[in-house]
Amino acid sequence: MPRLDVDALSKSYGTVQALTGTTFSVAAGEVFGFVGSNGSGKTTTMRIILGVLTADDGEVRWDGQPVDAAVRRRIGYMPEERGLYPKMKVGDQLTYLARLYGLSGADAKEAMARWTERLGVAERVDDEVQKLSLGNQQRVQLAAALTHSPDLLVLDEPFSGLDPVAVEVMSHVLAEESERGAPVLFSSHQLDLVERLCDRVGIIKNGRMVAVGTLDELRRTDKPRWIIDGPPGDDWLGEVRRARIVSREGTRTVVEVEADGDEQPVLQAALRLGPVREFSLSRPSLTDLYRHVVSSEDPGEGEGTR
């Protein structure tokens, strides 16, 4: 299956610049996590991919070609603020939406039955959407994005407001869809989930992509940091060169070295002082990375743009 390229998108609402040269891509079978604070441009980007909004500049390509109406109909979309007819029955609603995506009446019914079963809302098919709990409404919303077996998934905050069981169901479905070969793009504020589910991550800030890559790529820092559990005191490093203590908590010390290999003298120095119970490379979590990226540079957050 082809890849999705988002290339140098720009969009402004009046005087507010929502996107500036936003660029990233999602390969076939890849789960891409899109993170950024509120109003940073995630939803705007997704709406442009869907063609619901038009970009001022830049383009979205699918398989190297600009996305047109036919391609857009192959996207499974979950809008940020859920969108379903409150007074329409779940089953009718999903069938209707599937038909809008081009399924025949019978296929649409079959797909509706299959996905409500898979997502655990099958027994609510004859209820009006407004009678469902928010979590179940969200399952229906996901079903609406999946009934037409899309080639690409674009999900805006699919996990917000879900209970842990629903999060598991949602995670499994996303994994399955990417195994099927569909690129999956989703946004979330739940960074632990993004870290767990995503092959690649993009961090957006004030409409600009500030970091894109696999988690390992993002974690790779210029100066490796090592965690050592054992040696006491604040100055045990002594004469070891090209290394410095960054922080210390109890018996654990974080040491930053200049380059790979420089950690060996550190370990030897530590062993000379006594037993070492742990010696490992410090891998910053996505939350650490995100905090680092978002708090740096210009402090002015974009206004409420979507």
Binding site: R47, A69, A70, R72, Y77, P86, Y96, L97, L100, A144
Partner: protein, 398 residues
């Protein structure tokens, strides 16, 4: 997997139709209309002063010669009188049973009229006339004249009526048809227009519109909504019209000899379509400006107000005075004509070229309206939150 614009429009329209028709409101209002119309018809049929239209009179053998004259005079006054011969005793019994409205007994010329309660006004006139004629005839014979010749002379003397208004004779049936056409069009346009507006806001408020617009263009969604609601409106008008025509026919309430019901109904339908397309486009685009159901009223009320004016003029002036300058002028003005022209047509005061000119003036406007409504709708439908101004909507590039 590419779907044609038409199949998208058809899908949207069929959803509109299904949700509306199966809704409780639709079933309930249609039911109420039918009950009201049939009930009203039945009321007229059974409780209207029907004595004026059909009277039964019994005559005893002494006054049998009067029977034919009574029927003839009754006809002249627009009253059907059935005369039967009975004897006194039998006749009195039938009068008290209500089978006879009056029993006429001799001897001539001073006849006796037996009634249960009091003598019906028309019947009194008829019998008095007959008796007086009888008396007059007798006098004429006594004077040596020929009563038949005199009667002929008298019948030939008829006043000539000159109408200063120059107005042609209008049948009550035409007035009723005009009145009913005006009300039907109003109900259908008002109801349908509001349904379109509420539907647009429902989609915007629930954000489902974002999902829909990922599969189709805004104009397709709007066209589907308008089309679907046209069908619902036609159905609604059809149910009411069928109930009305059926009631009128079943209870013999309308003398339709001077009225081409089919033609009038067809024109009502045509004007409904013209009016609906125009008002639905305007209301749909205005409704797209707001994000909450409770704000719909504020944006569409100016349009509703504009609908009221031609409607009120239409039903309060047009049926009685269809040739007034105000009525004639408004029947050409787009947005007013759908309420007024059908009334003029029902009353038979609009010529075909006039009707076609009026339709033409409206139809010419429709492409412009589609363009304008499409711009406003697409510019506003995705902007949730505060009310979008018309200027913002028109300036938007998406």
């Amino acid at each position: 997997m590419k779907q044609s614009a038409w199949s998208m429009i058809a899908l949207v329209a069929s959803r509109e139709i299904r949700t509306r028709i199966y809704s409780k409101v639709f079933v309930l209002t249609s039911g109420l209309f039918i009950v009201a119309i049939v009930g009203g018809g039945a009321f007229f049929h059974f409780f209207a002063p029907d004595g004026q239209n059909e009277q039964t009179v019994g005559v005893t053998s002494e006054v049998t010669p009067l029977a034919l004259t009574i029927e003839a005079v009754g006809d002249g006054l627009g009253t059907d009188i059935t005369v039967s011969e009975v004897d006194r005793e039998q006749g009195e019994k039938q009068v008290s049973d209500g089978d006879l409205d009056a029993l006429v007994d001799g001897p001539l010329p001073n006849v006796e009229v037996v009634v249960e309660d009091e003598l019906d006004g028309t019947l009194r006139t008829v019998i008095t006339t007959v008796v007086q004629q009888e008396a007059l005839g007798e006098q004429i014979s006594d004077l040596g004249g020929d009563p038949a010749a005199v009667a002929q002379q008298v019948a030939g003397a008829e006043p000539q009526v000159t109408s200063l208004d120059g107005g042609e004779e209008r049948d009550p049936a035409q007035i009723i048809a005009g009145f009913v056409s005006g009300i039907l069009i109003f109900i259908a346009l008002m109801g349908g227009g509001q349904r379109v507006a509420q539907g647009v806001v429902e989609e915007k408020a629930s954000r489902v519109v974002e999902l829909l617009l990922a599969t189709m263009r805004p104009w397709q969604l709007m066209a589907g909504k308008v089309l679907g609601n046209i069908v619902v409106g036609v159905l609604e008008v059809g149910i009411i019209a069928a109930a009305a025509v059926g009631t009128a026919w079943g209870f013999e309430l309308l003398d339709t000899s001077s009225l081409a019901v089919g033609t009038v109904a067809l024109w009502v339908l045509v004007w409904f379509l013209v009016g609906f397309v125009m008002y639905a486009l305007v209301l749909a685009s205005l409704a797209a400006l707001v994000s909450r159901q409770e704000d719909v009223g504020s944006v569409i009320s100016p349009v509703i107000g504009i609908m009221m004016v031609p409607y009120i003029i239409g039903v309060s002036i047009a049926p009685w005075d269809p040739e007034s300058t105000l009525v004639e002028t408004l029947s050409y003005i787009p947005f007013c004509s759908p309420f007024i022209m059908p009334i003029r047509i029902a009353l038979g005061t609009a010529t075909m070229p006039e009707v076609l000119l009026s339709i033409g003036l409206s139809v010419v406007l429709i492409p412009l309206l589609i363009w304008l409504a499409g711009r406003i709708y697409s510019g506003a439908i995705l902007r949730t939150g505060a009310r979008v101004s018309l200027r913002q909507a028109l300036k938007a590039d998406t």
